[in-house]
């Protein structure tokens, strides 16, 4: 329903344009003052003109179904008061197909009529100069021989006799708007076709350009038909080629529109293709007398298809940019209307209009192509600019990222170097000093030599070295360091009948983590534990931790923590406080007869 309404709208629109062209009466043959316009003459059955018959121009000899060609002889009498001073001329705006003109028996236009194909000059006006010497005062006779194809009918429109200088501009204008326009467009279409072909070659992914380039090629063939004599290749083939070119041309435009819109009208395309093949077959096989009418019948196909093109455009207007739609629709409907008009004046015997205008059609097509290329170009220019903008931003962001990565990489390299060096020193301490200490202790034990002070000093040194190595080893986890401390002290505790109550849960996180901070923390914890072993007379040591604190408490006898109380130099409280300060922790000590609690708290 929607579609048929669109199609009706298109039909009305085309009818309106075609009607407008009709009303404009382009190429109407008017008298040119002071030249003589000849309209009354006689037609002869034979060159000798045995039985003349009066006629009025324009005269259309009816088309007949006959092969070959026919000749018509006409004569016009014109009286001149005197021989003119200036050069005279005959100007024939329109006729078909070929014309021979003689004045007072002398040939002024056209070669000797021989038995050959009539030249296809129907779209080329004639200006034949008439030397004054041929003219005579009084009655002068102009003989015109028409030579053409009976299927299309022979035609002679009114013509003019007058001063050559006066008639030349009229002739020029007529020529430019008919054959000249066709030749002009032939050049245009060739260039456009080559350019579109190059674009397509560079952008194979966009078949739209291939379609347009090919359609330009077929438009060229149409232009040749309207601009040149094509009789050399024979009537059948020249007619078939140009008529089928029209069908293929419209078919390509249809495909172009479908492709542009993204509409899948494959079935219609196939039907159109089948009709083109049928047209070719019929054109090649139909008996010669019926060739023209048969092909004319097939012209219904491109006509209807061109309406469909417009209907498809209109039906999908939401999918097309407004400017694109306007340009496409306007120029394509102009082309379609020209086609309808052309079809009409070709098919009707006496159409009342004598100027063909279909040679203008490629211009409309050219506008569509140009617009398409330009709008695409603008579009890609715009997106290119946008892309450049985004690219610049991306490049800036990536550069910054890269810089940061390099920075991190540099840091990682430094860290790795530090780590390697640390590993080396650790290994040296481990195998060197550590080995010596253990070996010495073992010697003392094996041989039961040495005194208790040296032994204790060595053991303390060994424990401190362990602590240092541990804190370097696992710098990330305080809970693991505490665990290692427990492992080392477990036997010592057992010797003193002490036990751990282990309550390490959340991983403690120091304000400024690092190996030396960890070492300071561990020293505080270790010293607290050794203090308990030495002085507290406790049975259980509780170690507890959360994210922000570590607590070491015992169930021993306690002591007076005040500086002025019982002296506790051995406890090294001052050193522990100092260490706590260096890792950013508060050192909290409370003691009563039920036990002592040391709390390290940080934020």
């Amino acid at each position: 329903m929607q579609n048929s309404r669109t199609l009706l709208a298109v039909l009305a629109w085309i009818a309106a344009i075609a009607g407008l062209i009709w009303a404009l009466n382009i190429g109407a043959i008017e008298p040119i003052d002071p030249a003589v316009m000849l309209t009354a003459g006689q037609v002869c059955e034979t060159p000798g003109c045995a039985q003349p018959r009066d006629i009025e121009l324009p005269h259309h000899f009816p088309a007949r179904h006959a092969a070959g060609h026919e000749t018509r002889h006409l004569r016009f009498d014109m009286s001149l008061p005197k021989i003119p001073d200036s050069l005279q001329a005959l100007y024939l705006p329109s006729y078909a197909d070929e014309v021979f003109v003689s004045v007072n028996g002398a040939q002024v236009y056209g070669n000797e009529l021989t038995d050959r194909q009539p030249a296809r000059m129907w779209n080329i006006p004639v200006l034949a100069t008439v030397p004054q010497s041929l003219l005579q005062p009084g009655q002068n006779r102009i003989e015109i021989t028409l030579y053409g194809y009976p299927q299309e009918g022979l035609v002679l429109e009114p013509f003019h006799f007058g001063e050559a200088q006066l008639l030349t501009p009229h002739y020029n204008w007529r020529f430019i708007t008919s054959a000249g326009m066709a030749r002009f467009n032939l050049g245009f279409m060739t260039i456009a076709g080559i350019m579109l072909g190059i674009i397509w070659f560079a952008r194979r992914s966009e078949p739209i350009y291939a379609l347009l380039a090919t359609s330009c090629g077929f438009a060229c063939i149409i232009c040749i038909h309207f601009g040149f004599d094509t009789s050399a290749i024979g009537y059948r083939w020249s007619t078939l080629i140009w008529q089928v070119s029209v069908s293929i041309y419209v078919y390509l435009i249809f495909r172009f529109c479908n492709h542009y819109i993204g509409e899948g009208l494959k079935p219609l395309e196939t039907v159109s293709l089948v009709l083109i093949i049928a047209e070719l077959a019929a054109g090649s096989l139909v008996p010669a007398p019926y060739l023209f009418d048969t092909l004319l019948l097939f012209k219904l196909h491109p006509a209807i298809l061109s309406f469909l093109v417009l209907a498809v455009l209109l039906g999908n207007r939401s999918k097309i940019d407004k400017p694109d739609l306007r340009i496409f629709f306007f120029f394509l409907s102009m082309a379609s209307a020209m086609g309808v008009y052309e079809l009409y004046i070709t098919a009707v015997v006496d159409p009342g209009r004598n100027q063909h205008i279909f040679q203008f059609m490629p211009l409309a097509m050219l506008c569509v192509c140009l617009w398409l290329v330009i709008s695409r170009f603008m579009l890609s220019l715009r997106s290119y600019e946008e892309l450049t903008g985004t690219l610049k931003q991306t490049v800036a962001a990536k550069t910054e990222e890269l810089r940061l990565t390099y920075e991190k990489l540099g840091q990682a390299e430094r860290l790795k170097a530090i780590n390697n060096e640390r590993q080396r020193i650790m290994l040296d301490l481990h195998d060197g000093i550590g080995g010596q200490l253990v070996n010495t202790l073992a010697y003392m034990q094996n041989n039961e030599k040495g005194d208790a002070v040296i032994k204790t000093a060595l053991e303390d040194a060994l424990r401190d070295l362990s602590l240092m190595l541990d804190s370097l080893e696992t710098d990330a986890s305080i809970s693991t360091l505490l665990g290692m401390l427990r492992t080392r002290l477990e036997t010592l505790l057992a010797e003193h009948a002490l036990e751990f109550d282990w309550r390490i849960d959340d991983e403690p996180e120091l304000p400024h983590p690092g190996p030396s901070q960890n070492l300071n923390l561990l020293r505080i914890v270790q010293e607290s534990i050794t203090n308990i072993i030495k002085h507290a007379e406790a049975s259980i040591i509780t170690i507890a931790s959360d994210r922000n604190s570590i607590t070491i408490s015992d169930n021993g006898k306690g002591f007076d923590p005040r500086p002025d109380g019982r002296r506790h130099h051995g406890h090294g409280l001052a050193g522990m406080r100092r260490r706590a300060g260096s890792i950013g922790a508060d050192f909290d000590l409370s003691s009563d007869p039920g036990g002592t609690t040391i709390r390290l708290v940080w934020r």
Binding site: N439, N446, L462, M484, R486, T491, W502
Partner: protein, 218 residues
């Protein structure tokens, strides 16, 4: 006196006094006897095949090479034999290598060596000594594995329970405490730790196979 099966122990330790101290500490345990003491890799390998001991105590830093070579020989031995690393401190990186080579654990020689006999016996009974540091390191291997880390970094797959246990060990908890916390027996905790060691070892074996395949040896 009751019949006791005596397990022979080979000591590979380059420091004379430590070796002697280890020997006397071990011989205080009835079930153990020291069959030989070697002071380098070469001697250790010779004594290993000469005495076919049940347990080998290996120091890692030896004058003519790494104790890991001895551990590898122990892994490939055709009799029941297990290697224990004796380390002064934790020295995690080297100990992990030793574990991957097939060591059953390690004992610290920095503290009192009185408990060493007990450690050796626990290994013979199927236990695997582990320290918080080693547990932490194994956990790192698991997490780096999930992150799809770099070429050289080895990785192991652990069950949730195994990860849980390693986490507790890394915080300093003992097997008994972990068992109480998780509601399982101390022995089960030990089994889990054995499994983790097993995976570490298997993992290093599959890596070796993969490497050999790449090199066209298999």
């Amino acid at each position: 006196m009751a019949e006791t099966v005596s397990h022979s122990v080979l000591i590979v330790e380059d420091r004379r006094e430590i070796a002697l101290r280890l020997k006397s500490a071990i011989e205080k345990t009835d079930e153990l006897s020291v069959c030989a003491i070697a002071d380098d890799v070469d001697g250790g390998l010779n004594q290993l095949y000469a005495h076919r001991p049940r347990i080998v105590l290996v120091d890692l830093g030896l004058p003519d090479g790494s104790g890991i070579e001895v551990i590898k020989a122990v892994s490939g031995a055709d009799w029941t034999c297990e290697a224990l690393v004796v380390s002064i401190f934790g020295d995690e990186a080297r100990v992990i290598d030793a574990l991957r080579a097939g060591a059953r654990g390690y004992v610290l020689k920095s503290g009192s060596l009185a408990a060493i006999g007990k450690d050796v016996l626990s290994v013979i009974e199927g236990g695997s000594p582990i320290s918080p540091q080693i547990a932490r390191h194994l956990l790192a291997m698991v997490s780096s594995g999930t992150a799809g880390s770099s070429e050289g970094a080895p990785q192991i797959d652990l069950t949730n329970r195994e990860t849980e246990i390693l986490n507790a060990v890394a915080k300093g908890y003992k097997r008994r405490e972990i068992g109480e916390k998780l509601g399982i027996s101390t022995g089960t905790v030990g089994n889990h730790i054995n499994n983790i060691y097993q995976k570490l070892n298997v993992n290093s074996n599959t890596e070796a196979i993969a490497r050999a395949t790449r090199m066209g040896l298999l």
